[in-house]
Point group: C2
């Protein structure tokens, strides 16, 4: 699974030299976890970067007693407790498994070591960050002035399988709407 995961990173993001790859293997670990497990809890410092080999994961936070889903990660995605990982603060986010999953894990310190040592690893960092930045940009456009229905249609256009894998309530809060509204949108009882 380690080699499988590393191969997917290299093909999906950016090639690495044999030396970088050898070094990478030293630092990365494989983690198998079950649906429902919480890898990060609110208030914890988290310095782990995860890569999803198989399965799916959500990041969410709690506001006024309500659970708000902030991000989903599926196969070949990276995910981390973004504020804690990059800003060294306690995480507002939980990270929780939506399915039984196989993950690769690397710590921030080890990432930094690899980034300092290998130019191509630094590039991998730049490219994966750029990809996330572009996804966030799309999400802002979607939240800023699109209707709930349009946001939903956008989401299933990008992730057609999401409804089969993720509970409705999580999708709703990711879209910035309530579960009831999403249910009505799916039943097409909301005016287009």
């Amino acid at each position: 699974m380690l080699e499988n995961g590393i191969h997917r990173i290299v093909t999906n993001y950016c090639p690495l030299s044999p030396e970088s790859l050898a070094d990478f293997r030293q630092y990365v670990e494989v983690l198998n976890c079950q649906k429902g497990e919480q890898l990060v809890k609110e208030g914890q410092h988290s310095d782990k970067l995860l890569f999803i080999v198989k399965g799916c994961v959500k990041a969410y936070y709690v506001k006024d007693g309500k659970t708000i889903t902030d991000w989903f990660a599926f196969e070949n995605d990276f995910i981390c407790a973004i504020t804690s990982f990059f800003l060294f603060v306690p995480s507002p986010h939980y990270i929780e498994l939506i399915e039984d999953s196989t993950l690769l894990v690397i710590t921030r310190d080890d990432m930094m070591t690899l980034c300092n040592k290998h130019h191509d690893f630094e590039r991998l960092g730049r490219i994966s960050t750029t990809k996330t930045m572009l996804q966030l940009q799309q999400r802002v456009v979607s939240l800023q002035f699109e209707s709930a229905q349009q946001r939903y249609l956008n989401l299933i256009a990008v992730h057609p399988s999401i409804e089969l894998r993720v509970p409705l309530g999580d999708i709703a809060s990711f879209l910035g709407i309530t579960q009831e509204t999403l249910s009505r949108i799916r039943a097409a009882k909301v005016r287009i």
Copy 2:
């Protein structure tokens, strides 16, 4: 102004070796423009990355005949037509000067040349992208489940001077609300 700008990049983002700096100077240009000028128009391919030495700039797009402000950049910020620059497609965005400004300009190709040649320049790319990613992440949280009033208060907490520099309508659409609503919020005629 060139040295001033480069110095600010190095201090605000990431140090560069003397060799990288020397190379950087070869590729970067200083641009002085006036309020109202459009550096990028909808439909154009844009391969320019801008750094604001002095002044401010907005990126906006037009949807259903309405102007929607997507991003502001002030002193020491980078800005580009994000989709066009990174995905090589025609830009949905306009980029327009809000004040008379001094900018540094570098093309995507020259950026890539510098990234390939210098490890520390690649790091500069990673770090500036990470910074933008974190700002977008905050913006998503803000748009997802905060009230119009709360979003406004967040914004002026981060950019206290924005109201003095940017027209109300631009701020409103950046927040995902109408100008009328923002005007009422400022007059505190909306319930807290």
